[in-house]
Amino acid sequence: MSERVLLEMRNITKVFPGVKALDNVSFEVREHHIHALVGENGAGKSTLMNVLSGVHRHGAYEGEILFDGEPCRFRGIRDSEARGIVIIHQELALVPQLSVAENVFLGNERLSVSSVVNWARTFFEAEKLLSQVGLSVDPSVPVQSLGVGKQQLVEIAKALSKDVKLLILDEPTAALNDEESDKLLDLLVSLKKSGITSIIISHKLSEVQRVADEITILRDGATIETLGRGDEITEARIIRGMVGRDMAHRFPPVVRSPDPSRRFEVRNWSVYDAQDPGRAKLEDVTLSVAAGEVVGVAGLMGAGRTEFLKSLFGRAYGSRVTGEMLLDGQPLRARTPSEAIARGLAYVTEDRKGEGLMLGHSVLMNLTLSNLKRVGSHNTVNPKLEQVEGERLREDFRIKAPDLYQAVGNLSGGNQQKVMLGKWIFAEPRVLLMDEPTRGIDVGAKYEVYQIINRLAQEGRHVLLVSSEMAELIGLCDRIYVMSDGRIAGEVAGETATQENIMALIIKGAREKVL
């Protein structure tokens, strides 16, 4: 492996009005390496990559970029792509309705003569690129028919079509389950062998540890250190660099006393697909959560976990919902989200931006939306009451925002998540259905969210938690149900849970389904 420096970013400083996002950052990437970039949200990782890819054009920042030994002055993404630098953002840039092949060559179409698409070449070459990334799908199917994991691979195929030299992946595994993540990481390693250098931004330190040759840690817009293969790389070491302090425990200590006499129960819950009412999505799911208990639901992407929580929450998902819910032995009927809220349910969505928050509206408007009755009377909102309650939530959930009237979209991911939690606590729920509550937020904010979850349980609420990070479920839950293909495949107690026995249940469940 060569040790030649492919990319050098020297003394990059980028100032947004009022904030110094990057302060004299220097950063080197060696050829044929996988270089990980880690840091908390707001540490400047994305800004640095935006400088590199030309989103922040030359002149909008200070410092210089050398790629392949030559200075670069990118004025836009097209310039950087022309040099072989391709960035894949967390939000995939695919057109769902177009075919895989069309997406692979989007903006870079294979032409026969000028402006006329050569379909034969498009499909032929797409197939070649797809096999290169290990994706065996028909290139003529629309991208929306693929799962997120496969869509990610289509993005990489698209990058390969542009003769990529340096591939940048921003949180590539955030939406993937462990199996898909493994596959993606293996692909990066094999691309490395075929000569493609990559930069990977990730919050998942175990992945970073596994594939990265070098790791650069950013904190508060400055480079803290770069760890190479000579250094001893441990998770604790990386976390220390990221947060600037030791984090002895990733999970807060648990002091819980569940009350098994008061239970939230779901019995024989079956749900059919929302679009295709002939297809069963959930079959005969039965589980229970005691008051003061945190219960996890593990499973692979597509196992039906999100659909399960949503269908419980006033049938916000699915068709032909059957089965019953009980709270303290009393049947709980909720046919709409508003009934669900009124009966004491809350659903914290996994998709903060898409269906959780109104990004353009203020923190306060978001916080009080699900329970406006509490801050007014006679169908009018009392601004004073609203503000008092908002302030209380802001302190309670340690939401870092200049004031309550700030648009939520301006806050960091972790703080947006806290706004969402605050919003649902404001609705005074007894049962919390939480879907990936720590997706895409940094280590420090995660810890705070864990503390909040613990507190909610201590207050005697029932918490049902879906997460794709098994370590999180193991660290947080009293019991874990394993869901596989819309059924409960088994249950493990928190103390005895390991990634291995959860995985074993998932696989067993999948096998039973086939039989």
Binding site: S338, T349, G354, G360, M365, L369, N379, T380, K423
Partner: protein, 391 residues
Amino acid sequence: MNSLRKAAQSNLRQYTMGVALVVLVLVLQFVTGGTMLRPLNISNLLHQNMYVFVLGMGMLLCILTGGNIDLSVGAVVAFTGAICGVLMVDLRMSTLPAVLIVLGAGLLVGAWQGFWIAVVKVHPWITTLAGSLLFRGLAQVILDGRSIGPFPEPFQFLATGFFTDVAGGSGVHLLSILIGAAGTLVFVGVVLFFHFRNRKLGLPTSTPAQLALKIILVALFVNLLAWRLAGYKGISFAMLLLVGLILLFSFITKKSVFGRHLYAMGGNIKAAKLSGINTARLMFTVYVISALMATVAAILVTARLNAATPKAGVGYETDAIAACFLGGASISGGSGTVFGVLVGALIMGVLNNGMSLLGVSIDWQAAIKGLVVLVAVAFDMYFKNRQRSSI
């Protein structure tokens, strides 16, 4: 003084459209040789364009839900106007029951469209496009292509009735000046009350300079308007009705839970649904309100023209939609204010009126209005973007 200037500057940038309106009025005042701001003309301008204000506010609620518009309002004006005609001219019904029946018909029209939009889930654009054909056609059918009139006195009063003066024929209409002054006092009182209450409670308030500027501008506007109107016949019933509607819609958008839900829905419809908001019911309600406002507009238009005609309300929907977007409403929903719609409607009204005074032909009027709307919204976006990037 310095802070006042700063406040003025920030407000100027914030209210580009207000400035555009003032400039427009001054230019037209100049080129029409002073006719523009004559008392008679101001009075006419308001009455002729009352429909833009009324329809614009109903349209705003539709737009807030997520850029949905109501394309049928022009046709609904013709349809409900036609019913007015049949009831009062053909059937000789008296004004009050006829108006109530027509408003009821407007409700039904709204419920009809609301049903297709909220229950069957046909897209509002398609539903109201169909509505614009349907109700225009029904208006033709009901009137059999005729224009009918005249209408009874009390009905005409709704649109063109002025209040008799307290001073009694002394040249200047004292009552309207008094109403203007009283309105100003109430306004100042209310604004100051809320300002100090909010400050005491620690809610966000504007700076004293901004507050002063706001009071000065509104007081100037209201009193100048009252003074000019006093030079003609003073204040009419329709103007008071408009003021009432403005207060009602301001309350709906600023204070009510319903209004808050509209903004939430436009901000993120999925989040709104998962927050327990019944978005289908909201859609139903806004289209009922829009149809009801179209009916109010129909009553005003029919009464003013003293005739019901199947050609009434042609192109009204574009004026109302333009007023909303000129007033800064967002095409994706979730933002827009009643105040903005008023400014937008005034711009449309001043354009309509000014070009008529200049003798511009109807065809050119439409073309010019189109250009003005395009350029004005483009400027507004440009300024807002610049402002955002300078924060």
